[in-house]
């Protein structure tokens, strides 16, 4: 159902940024060239989510359940090309269409994680901010070390080393 190869890819994609505005948060920001109502639907309607929220090619999302109301639950299950499945689930705390959702889930380490997603529209383009607030800085840093990899020179050197070894 998802289209990929047919449509010509935009020459330059909008960039996804990964930021740590304070010691407990990780914010992922991305702008889409579409109106907010549509982006909101793509993020919150189980009819749409499995068509894009599947990561690298070859992954699928066999389960996508969304009960979009405060107190409602959501549950996603992904399947990788090797057939292994991994899932995530949570509970909506706030639902304010088409502007904002807040939900609480559990991080890989078993700690509570609050995810606030905001949708803002400007001139027909929509910016989505996914803010993940972890229980402590240590838990966040475990979860998002990746965000620094591109800039931390130690990691860059290690990357080069790993490449030379593989």
């Amino acid at each position: 159902m998802a289209t990929r190869s047919d449509a010509p890819a935009p020459a330059t994609r909008n960039q996804t940024t990964y930021e740590t505005p304070n010691d407990r948060e990780l914010v992922i920001t991305r702008t889409f060239d579409a109106p907010r109502s549509l982006v909101w639907a793509a993020f919150t309607d189980p009819k749409h989510v499995p068509n894009w929220h599947t990561g690298p090619d070859g992954f699928t999302m066999p389960v996508c359940e969304i009960d979009l109301r405060p107190g409602g639950k959501w549950r996603y299950v992904w399947r990788n090309p090797q057939g292994q499945e991994f899932g995530a689930s949570g509970t909506y705390k706030e639902v304010d269409p088409p502007k904002r959702t807040v939900n609480v889930t559990t991080s890989q380490g078993g700690d509570e994680l609050t995810i606030t997603t905001t949708f803002s529209e400007e001139e027909g383009r929509t910016t989505v901010k996914v803010s993940q607030r972890f229980a402590t800085q240590a838990i966040r840093d475990q979860g998002m070390k990746f965000a620094r990899m591109g800039t931390d020179s130690s990691y860059v050197k290690l990357d080069a080393y790993l490449v030379s070894r593989s």
Partner: protein, 115 residues
């Protein structure tokens, strides 16, 4: 997912001095003295960091040589790099697909057959 060994690796990597030690070791094995020099640290201070790295399986110490040279062990870092890359790749790939999906939805809407 093997979160426990990953957690140990992350904890060891959380310190910038330890990352710098690993980066130095990436160019070859060193003695504790050689490691201490660029960081203006005492031998014992470096040894403390090395213990953390050793417990996480990120470095190994030579047994036979008199100076017990320190060597980088790449496997756990590689695991982190793979895991980390996966996570970021997951968002990047999903959002790239969403670009195309939104384009498709808009053209369906335009042609009046969207739900």
């Amino acid at each position: 997912m093997p979160t426990d060994s990953l957690s140990r690796t992350f904890a060891a990597l959380a310190d910038p001095t330890r990352r710098a030690i690993l980066a130095k070791l990436a160019s070859g094995e060193c003695t504790v003295g050689e490691l201490a020099r660029p960081f203006a640290m005492s031998g014992p201070a470096v040894s403390k960091h090395l213990k953390v790295l050793e417990r996480a399986g990120l470095v190994a110490r030579g047994r036979d040589a008199q100076w017990r040279p320190v060597r980088l062990r790449a496997a756990p870092i590689k695991k982190v790099a793979e895991w980390a890359l996966d996570y970021r790749q997951f968002w990047d790939a999903s959002y790239a697909r969403l670009d195309d999906y939104l384009t498709q939805l808009m053209s369906e809407e335009h042609h009046g057959n969207a739900k």
